[in-house]
């Protein structure tokens, strides 16, 4: 009996040891999908391990990062809506306080050269300090978060597992979060499968793709369907927020009312649209670009100065194409979900 128990002990120890070992090994360098550009962040100084990724995911879903234990990152970045904040014009955070912008989708972030609608944040690792310290979001401080993590035996063990150091530092905390957010890659939409000739488009989607290439791809450039540029798309300033966008960062008057060109991947689910969430539907957005836009506005982005003319059917075709950018494998990937 004792021998049997010893054997069971040894086997289970080996299992646990082996499991831990696997959790610490670098799982993979993120390999960009074929024909995609090189990512801007390549995890060179932050190699992804299973332990680091899972820790980042736990942090992402933990309301303990906020001042009163109510708001997690996922509060405004829900997986099923492309990690955007669905159904609210501007996002709301702690104590129901409202911000001034719609939380952007977290998709293919490692290709971004800057973050936020105004591009004020220059590095993926440092972005989380903003929502943590913003008085209308998590209203906490980085030091408080580190104290919270360091006083939790669960977290110090997980940090030891991931970074070989049980003392949680700004560096290990932010790098763990980056291992998760940087892994949020969406590259298996119907459009991607169509390119690989695994699926075919309907006539409507084909036509929508043509219209897209002609009218939209200049800014929302495939394969990422964004650009790392800031553009003025002419939507009038909302006097409730008086948000001047990029100007606040550069102090350059030419940047007034310019905002980041967001990705259109999973756009079907990341509504409402625009930096302040003023449009609820894709049809409203397309109606703006085709009907309501003032092409004589001298500040308008040059790409928009030629009127886009689309018939009612063409608008439907374009929307049908945009819906092919939905990637259900990404939106329902259990690996990115709340860890149960």
């Amino acid at each position: 009996m004792t021998k049997l128990l010893t054997l069971i002990f040894i086997i289970s120890s080996l299992f646990i040891f082996g499991f831990n070992y696997n959790d610490r090994t670098v799982i993979s360098k993120i390999t960009p999908p074929k024909n995609w550009p090189k990512p801007n962040y390549n995890f060179e100084n932050n190699p992804i391990t299973e332990a680091g990724f899972k820790l980042g995911r736990k942090l992402f879903y933990d309301p303990g990062l906020s001042r009163n234990n109510t708001i997690s990152c996922a509060h405004c970045h829900l997986q099923y809506t492309g990690f955007a904040h669905v159904d609210h014009r501007v996002s709301h955070g702690i104590d129901g306080k409202k911000g001034t912008r719609n939380a952007p989708a977290l998709i293919n972030l490692i290709w971004n050269t800057s973050f936020h609608w105004d591009g004020g944040v220059n590095h993926i690792e440092l972005q989380p300090i903003n929502p943590i310290e913003h008085p209308a979001e998590m209203d906490n401080s980085l030091i408080n978060v580190l104290n919270y993590l360091n006083s939790s035996e669960t977290y110090t063990a997980l940090f030891f597992e991931a970074f070989n150091d049980s003392i949680v530092s700004s560096s290990s905390f932010l790098k763990a979060l980056t291992q998760f957010t940087g892994s949020l890659i969406s590259s298996n939409s119907k459009y991607d499968q169509y390119l690989k000739k695994d699926r075919s488009f309907t006539q409507q989607e084909e036509n929508g793709l043509k219209l897209f290439k002609k009218n939209c791809n200049n800014c929302h450039t495939a394969p990422l369907f964004n650009s790392n540029r800031f553009e003025n798309n002419g939507i009038p300033i909302d006097t409730l927020f008086n948000d001047l966008g990029r100007y606040k960062i550069t102090n350059n008057p030419l940047d007034s009312l310019k905002f980041r060109v967001p990705t259109l991947r999973n756009i079907e689910f990341t509504f409402p649209y625009m930096h302040d969430g003023r449009y609820k539907t894709l049809r409203q957005v397309i109606d703006y670009y085709t009907e309501d836009i003032n092409i004589k506005n001298p500040q308008l982005s040059p790409q928009l100065r030629k009127k886009i003319v689309l018939s009612s059917n063409e608008k439907k075709d374009l929307i049908a194409f945009l819906k092919t950018l939905t990637d259900k494998d990404f939106l329902y990937n259990k690996r990115f979900s709340f860890p149960r």
């Binding site: 100084n45 004020g120 944040v121 590095h123 903003n130 980085l142 030091i143 530092s169 700004s170 606040k248």
Partner: protein, 212 residues
């Protein structure tokens, strides 16, 4: 094998005279004045270069020090040196590379209160307190930062030494020299990068001196 490498290193050190390198302490000496009631005063010093009599230049690349008026330990830096110092050169602030490198630790850890998250970058120079001038007291809140293009605020300065020192060096830091140069009504509060921050950053070298 390890032992052989060790012997080779030792021999080459002796052969090239590197053994005469020693650590020279550089002390930042804060000079206060009754006109200024200081609350917070800290700043970055980086890319320090010692130009030596023997023609050598001892340069510290990628090293940033946060000098904090409240932390005695932060006010002494030890630098490699091998001869009499003819001049010392440094950057007041952090260079642009540091500002785009993601999360950094040590003196560059964002918890040090010298990092702007919403407009990424380090606050190079932070001075807060109450300044009395002409019978009036003005609250001072200067957070000087910005690294990009025309917003860059890091200032390179060089201080020549009259007497040839090599065992220690004291750099005086006198914030009232800056405050007296400001337009106290328009330049008492700066919290963002931009033209106003750049203007003040150009005055920063005037507060550093060496009395030798």
């Amino acid at each position: 094998m390890v032992r052989l490498v060790f012997i080779l290193i030792t021999l080459s050190t002796i052969a090239f005279g590197q053994s005469s390198i020693k650590k020279t302490p550089i002390t930042f000496n804060f000079i206060t004045d009754a006109s200024f009631k200081q609350k917070t005063f800290k700043f970055y010093i980086s890319s320090i270069k010692l130009n030596l009599k023997n023609g050598h230049v001892h340069e510290e690349k990628n090293q940033c020090y946060l000098i904090d008026q409240e932390l005695l330990k932060s006010q002494i830096i030890y630098l490699d040196n091998s001869d009499e110092i003819e001049s010392i050169q440094f950057l007041i602030g952090t260079d642009s590379l540091v500002n785009v490198s993601g999360i950094l630790d040590g003196d560059l850890d964002p918890v040090k209160g010298m990092y702007w998250a919403w407009n990424s970058g380090y606050i190079n120079f932070k001075l807060e307190g109450d300044f009395t001038k002409g019978g009036n007291t003005y609250p001072i809140e200067l957070h000087i930062g910005g690294y990009n293009g025309i917003q860059a605020t890091a200032q390179r300065m060089i201080i020549p030494l009259k007497s040839k020192l090599n065992d220690s060096l004291t750099i005086n830091v006198e914030p009232t020299l800056l405050l007296n140069k400001l337009n106290i009504n328009t330049q008492n509060s700066i919290m963002i990068p931009g033209v106003k921050a750049v203007e003040i950053s150009k005055l920063l070298p005037t507060i550093f001196s060496i009395s030798d």
